[in-house]
């Protein structure tokens, strides 16, 4: 088996890597690039903790191989805040206490940003359904729904971030 030369573009920065073809995008982000904000909850597409954006869409980084993402624009939780200013979704998660242990939070937030941009944050039931791909064992769901709804309002008022 040979290692692959790959360039991953993450949070606006290109990183040239030699990677094991078996490496998932999640493991490459964490163990090779040291971006520990993206979490591994199940490693099999069943919890959403590893949600990142690839070319602006929310995906599960545990279910895809890093090698498949040469040239893709990858955004992780570390790339969401701009110049130290939290993204409105991050801010709303704090204000609505939409997190407890924090382990699913990166995935929830990445998913929520996409959920709002997709136009799936119209009302609480819609948010519940479209945020159901992110499990939270602490059970912060009611506050997550409130945070997404509030962030959607803010995001609507401002230019897309």
């Amino acid at each position: 088996m040979t290692l692959l030369e790959t360039t991953l573009r993450v949070n606006g920065t290109s990183r040239r890597l030699e990677i094991d073809p078996r490496a998932t995008l999640l493991d490459a982000l964490r163990e090779r690039l040291g971006l520990m904000g993206t979490k591994k909850g199940c490693d099999r597409g069943e919890c959403g903790a590893c949600t990142v954006h690839v070319n602006g869409r929310r995906v599960l980084s545990c279910m895809t191989l890093a090698a498949m993402h040469e040239g893709d624009e990858i955004t992780t939780i570390e790339g969401l805040a701009r110049e130290g200013t939290l993204h409105p979704v991050q801010q709303a998660f704090i204000e609505h206490d939409a997190l407890q242990c924090g382990y699913c939070t990166s995935g929830q937030i990445m998913s929520a940003v996409a959920c709002v941009r997709e136009g799936h944050a119209g009302d609480e039931d819609e948010i519940r359904e479209w945020m159901s791909g992110n499990l939270c064992r602490c059970g912060a769901y009611p506050n997550i729904v409130a945070a997404v709804a509030a962030a959607a309002q803010v995001m609507e008022q401002h230019a897309p971030i």
């Binding site: 073809p21 949600t51 995906v59 599960l60 545990c62 279910m63 498949m68 479209w130 791909g133």
Partner: protein, 328 residues
Amino acid sequence: MHPFEYARAGDAAGAVAALAGDPEAAFIAGGTELVNWLKDGIERPGRVVDINRLPLGQIEATSAGLRIGTLARMSDVAAHRAVRSGFPALAEALERSASAQLRNMASMGGNLLQRTRCPYFRAETDLPCNKRRPGSGCAAREGLNRTHAIFGWSDACVATHPSDAAVALRALEASVRVLGRGGERSIPLADFYRLPGDAPERDTVLEHGELIVGIDVPATPRARRSWYVKVRERASYEFALVSAAVALDLDGGRIREVRIALGGVAPMPWPLTEAERALAGLPLERAALARAVDGAFSEARPLARNAFKIALAKRTVVRALEIAGGMA
């Protein structure tokens, strides 16, 4: 994961050729199935051929129907205006599948090639399962088979097929376009899946190296009045316990023609042909619908723990008919 080489296919013919010459090679598209199989050792390819850059992601709606490229992602198909208006059962089935993230990743072709969620098949270390390891037995046959088949199973395998979209596509009379070394062929979805019989390791009629390039859904008079009902215990992000897709052609308040497929009850999307016949000409009335559907289950063979699926499936079909017919 077993070590493998990674290769990126430049064109469809090249992808097919790459697999044809290598019995150990496998395609990867969305990855949402293959990556798990690799992790659990269900598949151990020596080479993984990435087909994501092939130009097979289109969704075209014409007067003849839908042409969906194999790489179209579930979320894009579900959101497509022509799909939502003209083939609502498909949009509904897709949108009830998995999660938003997985639907952004999973390809339509890959969706049809999902393998069973039978927990014996999906174990992280081997359990007796003929589908996973031929000859090892079917532990579910006498085991915990609440979620298993009531139709079409054999003593070698009692698993069900998990795809929601395939159930809708079956009721919509779709066919699958497949590229092999000998060229392209079209396979009606009705002929695409295999019953387990003595060889449950083979889910479909595809040969090694054949690539699904697209899915065609005809614009029948029934497609527009189609619907999909999914029954599951968790309100979202769960596979179907039972599901039903129906496509209705109405003549006033009566059913002219109907197609029905069930999910979660068989190794493949299960056509309810007898009910289709019995329903033709009937008025859209709950009691009449229920009677006609009732008779179609005489061949159901429940396992020790899933007899409830018969009653549940009947009710699911009736509900789908009611919704498609505008009654509920």
